[in-house]
Symmetry: C2
DNA sequence: ACAATATATTCCGTATGCGTAATATATGCA
DNA sequence: TGCATATATTACGCATACGGAATATATTGT
């Protein structure tokens, strides 16, 4: 019988690494005095920095979140002064999400923090190993999507 | 400027893969009619299947969770009839966590589900690639622990 | 024996994401 | 035109994990 060790199970390794990254982002952002940007905002911010004024659904698609997850996230981002909802003049069902000035201004410092944190986290990992590992993750995600979508 | 794509960022790839595994476990367990075992219980169950009657702290150490995270988790596991707390006769500060009969009985079916789900998730990944990827995750975790602990 | 310190748990608030159901609005087809 | 269907968003409850503060109990050094 192979002895099962929770701490060496793929599920643990993955979820722990995710939590480590989340925590590192939180700390990095806090250290840089960017306390109103939470780790979960990153995907949405990056998407909006590329194209402002997206509808919730499209934003969720680009950031990889379900519509129902977007609601709370956008609530927090509005609360924290980074984005706001605005009625879509072309479709009364939908809202368009825009960055505030602050949301636009934090781009540079936030991306600096992201770079620094990533460097720190992957400090011991060779670029090649990292690249291969990420490829595996993409494979897993594609596999899951193929089965679901 | 490299165009930043949220869906290809390491942070997204990791957290998405983690969510995929959690969801797959939930579905697999549900399909097997094991609805009272939640994905988060796995680490704790595995630890207790190896050694029953551990204190919260030690259990958290083996499952990779903070003591404060254990409280709610154990509350849910008690609610779901899998484990229970019992005063430690040797140290009135601590409680010992034991499996119920049910907690012991689900071992085989749960591990079967885990095997099946893992096989499905890693279906497209070569064992060697998987092994390397997991090694990278261990490196990241070790790196983080070295910096924190 | 006692004060100072350490350990074990819990409590509480926060963040994050999901699924299901409800609501509002659009669209398409008879 | 008018109903059936599709789409966009939100509401709600649940699961999961953290960190910091509070509480209870041990242990230790003097």
């Amino acid at each position: 019988m192979t002895d099962i060790v929770p701490l060496d199970h793929p599920y643990y390794l993955l979820s722990r690494t995710t939590l480590i990254m989340t925590s590192a982002f939180r700390k990095g952002l806090t250290s840089a005095n960017i306390t109103h940007v939470k780790p979960a905002y990153l995907g949405v911010l990056i998407a909006l920095w590329q194209e402002d004024g997206l509808k919730v659904i499209e934003l969720g698609r680009r950031a990889g979140l379900e519509p129902s997850s977007m609601t709370g996230l956008l609530d927090r981002m509005e609360r924290d002064g980074l984005a706001f909802r605005s009625a879509d003049p072309n479709d009364r069902r939908s809202q368009l999400i825009y960055l505030t000035d602050e949301g636009r201004n934090v781009k540079k410092p936030v991306l600096d923090v992201v770079d620094e944190v990533m460097g720190e986290i992957f400090r011991d990992v060779s670029p090649d190993d990292l690249c291969r590992a990420l490829k595996v993750l993409r494979q897993i995600i594609d596999n899951a999507n193929g089965r679901t979508n």
